[in-house]
Symmetry: C2
Subunit: 190 residues, 2 copies
């Protein structure tokens, strides 16, 4: 997606050799007008898939998923939680995820009642690095007996291998921007 | 907002005497099509306010803020973070918040570069109980020398006093549904 690459080049901040900060439009401040284009692009790429539900994980993924939902005939958006609030007392599906940016392990969870066997699920997220979050969501979907219709990622850091792992496993993965390398404060796209 | 009250009555779950679970459309699963109406309603209530930016706090607030932004000519949405990722190295404004649902204290934070002195800020959030999260966001806005244009809440649990505290302090607070009491599994609106 051309506008996304331009936006990353203009507003993103490459840190060291692994981190790209896009806090100005995606991960802290959100440019909703721009995200509408991201949502349209996802809708185009998944137009041939039947989608009953969108699954994402808090926090930034929520913005991406909600805005994309509009372009996909409003399937419900379900966001996996990273902590257990005391209002979440139901039976949950759990999956362990290692966070690349936070350097910790955590459990992501969804209440069983919101994902049913046979549903076709589009997984959407802001970033993919080692693929841990996406694989955790795939695990949640499959625990429910539901089906992964596809996985859409705004920015894939291809050099960290998550995307290749997921493609090799046979899932339809669409990344709107793929990064080959981050080096000397510069981002090189695939 | 009539449709919201109906939705709460139909899909909400009152727990004990203090908790209303709306996980089916707002706090876990998100009904984006319905939230569009919530966004339109906020836009109507704040149509006379100049708004440069929307501030919310992760996680559910992000959905509300992003969808409302569309109806308010796309001000940027900034979401306060509850944890410090290792990609957030800049100077931050911090404020301490007690969570009613999670029964803990936490620091919410925004990077200084995304909120500037003089900006008019609309604070949006999903719930208001004791008003801690909203007051934390007011504190962040005022630390930045910016100005609170208004505060919009989807569901205010009026009996927990947060809203009255904020109105008394002189802020323009608009709640789309106000709950007088939660008792015996029933919600009574004001």
């Amino acid at each position: 997606m051309k506008e996304l690459k331009e936006k990353i080049e203009r507003d993103g901040l490459a840190v060291g050799t692994g981190i790209l900060k896009v806090d100005s439009f995606l991960n802290h401040q959100i440019d909703v007008e721009f995200l509408e284009k991201v949502g349209e692009n996802f809708a185009l790429r998944f137009k041939d898939c039947k989608i009953d539900k969108i699954l994402t994980v808090e926090a930034s993924g929520i913005a991406v998923a909600c805005i994309a939902a509009k372009n996909l005939d409003y399937p419900k958006v379900l966001f996996a939680k990273k902590t257990e609030p005391n209002t979440m007392v139901e039976d949950c599906y759990l999956s362990e995820v290692v966070s690349f940016t936070k350097k910790n392990k955590s459990l992501i969870r969804i209440a069983k009642q919101y994902l049913k066997a046979g549903e076709k699920v589009l997984i959407l997220d802001d970033f993919m690095a080692h693929g841990e979050a996406a694989l955790g969501m795939v695990d949640l979907v499959e625990q429910a007996g539901a089906e992964v219709a596809g996985i859409g990622i705004v920015i894939e850091k291809k050099f960290q291998g998550g995307g290749d792992k997921i493609r090799k496993a046979g899932y339809k993965l669409e990344s709107l921007a793929m990064i080959k390398e981050i080096k000397d404060g510069k981002v090189e796209f695939c």
